[in-house]
């Protein structure tokens, strides 16, 4: 029962993170469009927009921050994996539990301080300092949401690693990991 709850948690988190990450990627073409439109409007119509500058920066921030959790799920984040690659799977699990805990610590802090920023932005109606002056609060809300998602993903990995350490069995099928491990070993053989 408890184990299936854990499994349910892991699968749900994987799914939510994936959905959010995929949805975020739709912002990429929008960002490219906004920037090209500014160039077009400025050069060909001689009418620079007031909004493209801030809008493109917002999109940039949304893409970069929201994508963090999915990038982790896909093992995309950069690590210095020299020792990591040389140790056993068990040891890796221990390593991961330690380093993901540090990650959660940092992300919890981000959520905590950004919540202050969010409240402050609501209270004072904080805007960007540009001529267009869009409101800022949604950006902090997005950061809180992204980092919470990232925390859930890291917690999910800690749970599955701890489960493996205690029982010697995989909690959920770790497709991505298996692939990346075999690939890694092939490369080391070169």
């Amino acid at each position: 029962m408890f184990v299936s709850l854990l499994r349910l948690y892991c699968n749900k988190v994987d799914l939510i993170v994936k959905l959010v990450g995929y949805a975020t990627s739709i912002l990429m073409p929008i960002l490219a469009f906004v920037v090209s439109f500014e160039v077009f409007s400025r050069y060909f119509l001689n009418r620079p927009t007031v909004w493209a500058f801030d809008l493109s920066l917002f999109l940039f921030g949304y893409i970069a921050i929201l994508g963090g959790a999915l990038a982790h799920q896909k093992k995309g984040h950069i690590t210095v994996d020299i020792l990591y690659k040389k140790v056993s799977h068990r040891t890796r699990c221990v390593f991961d539990v330690i380093s993901f805990s540090l990650g959660i610590f940092f992300l919890v802090l981000i959520v905590y301080v950004c919540f202050d920023k969010y409240q402050d932005a609501i209270n004072f109606g904080t805007r960007r300092q540009s001529e267009w002056a869009p409101l800022m609060h949604h950006f902090w809300l997005m950061t809180i949401f992204s980092c919470s998602l990232f925390i859930l993903q890291l917690a999910r990995d800690i749970i599955s690693n701890a489960f493996f350490l205690m029982t010697g069995e995989q909690l959920v099928m770790e497709k991505g990991l298996e692939i990346s491990c075999t690939k890694a070993e092939n490369n080391d053989g070169n």
Binding site: V50, A52, F53, F124, R127, Q129, S130, M136
Partner: protein, 316 residues
């Protein structure tokens, strides 16, 4: 010796951030202010001066003092227009005066200071003595023979300055500071404003754009010096007076030195080929002034403290 080692001697350790680079002439003025605070407080307040890029970004100063990350900041209000709109009025709306005595009386006698204290107070900030820096000028690639020539020009000008230039028929463009040079060189933009003449010089803009328009966008810039309220309230009255005294000294230094350095910067730029656009006609001067005045109402409508400040401005 660094701050943390000497900390035992001082009662208060302050981090004081400014917008200038380490080793620059303006940077030295803030360094001096830090030393004056230490001296006048008999060493009870120890000041660590932080320069541009040293821990807090230029647009983050306001938030950093507010949160207590740094204790004190010499900020640039335009950078914080979104957090503190009244700062735009404080620094000097386009079309404002350049008479330093008049500015002084505006703050100290005609009622600006109490309003600003209240406005900054809401953010947990205490404003110290303001200081005056030289005005904002616009540099263009082609000469401006009449004010009509601004029509259709793409000029890098943030916030209020952008609105002012739009009133003249120009198109304000938003760009990162680091891209101004290349953008002027290739013609992405036809001109740019700098936060003052020294900024134009440091940015090497005259290498790629020659003509400086003789009328400044705002007569003078009144910059604020902010302290975190919690840190301020910890000080005894004597120490508060000491810090105030140091900032009054600093304001005098700024006024003297910044004029001198502005003149130097202009001379250096002229040596490198900078030219003034022809002296504007009387009607151009009038149009210039008008372009600024319509902004007053716009800014007054946007924020209650801005309105109170502008009301006083209009009365005089």
């Amino acid at each position: 010796g660094i701050a943390a080692n000497d900390a035992s001697a001082a009662k208060y350790n302050w981090r004081f951030a400014n917008l200038y680079g380490r080793g620059t002439a303006f940077g030295a003025l803030y360094e001096q202010l830090g030393r004056d605070i230490e001296r006048l407080s008999n060493g009870e307040i120890k000041v660590q001066v932080l320069y541009s890029g040293e821990g807090v970004g230029t647009s983050g100063l306001f938030g950093a003092v507010k949160s207590g990350l740094i204790t004190m900041a010499a900020s640039f209000q335009s950078m914080h227009a979104g957090e503190f709109p009244a700062g735009i009025v404080e620094i000097g709306l386009p079309g404002g005066t350049d008479d330093t005595d008049e500015l002084y009386s505006l703050f100290h006698e005609k009622g600006w200071n109490p309003i600003l204290q209240k406005a900054y107070g809401e953010h947990g900030l205490v404003p110290l003595e303001q200081y005056i820096q030289p005005p904002v000028y616009v540099l263009t690639k082609t000469p401006i023979n009449s004010i009509e020539d601004f029509k259709g020009l793409k000029i890098r000008a943030p916030g209020a300055y952008g609105k002012f230039l739009r009133n003249l028929g120009a198109s304000p463009v938003s760009l990162a500071w680091g891209e101004i040079y290349t953008s002027l060189a290739t013609g992405v933009i036809d001109g740019a404003i700098g936060s003052n003449m020294i900024d134009h010089r440091d940015g090497n803009h005259v290498e790629v754009a020659t003509y400086m328009y003789p009328l400044p966008l705002a007569g003078a810039q009144v910059l604020s010096m902010l302290v975190n309220q919690k840190a301020w309230n910890k000080l005894s009255d004597d120490l508060k007076t000491a810090v105030m005294e140091a900032t009054v000294l600093h304001a005098k230094n700024q006024l003297e030195k910044s004029r001198e350095w502005e003149a130097e910067a202009v001379a250096e730029m002229q040596e490198k080929g900078m030219k003034w656009s022809p002296e504007p006609s009387e009607s151009d001067k009038l149009a210039w002034k008008k372009a600024g005045e319509t902004l007053w109402d716009e800014y007054a409508a946007a924020d209650k403290y801005s309105k109170q400040l502008i009301d006083i401005l209009k009365k005089n």
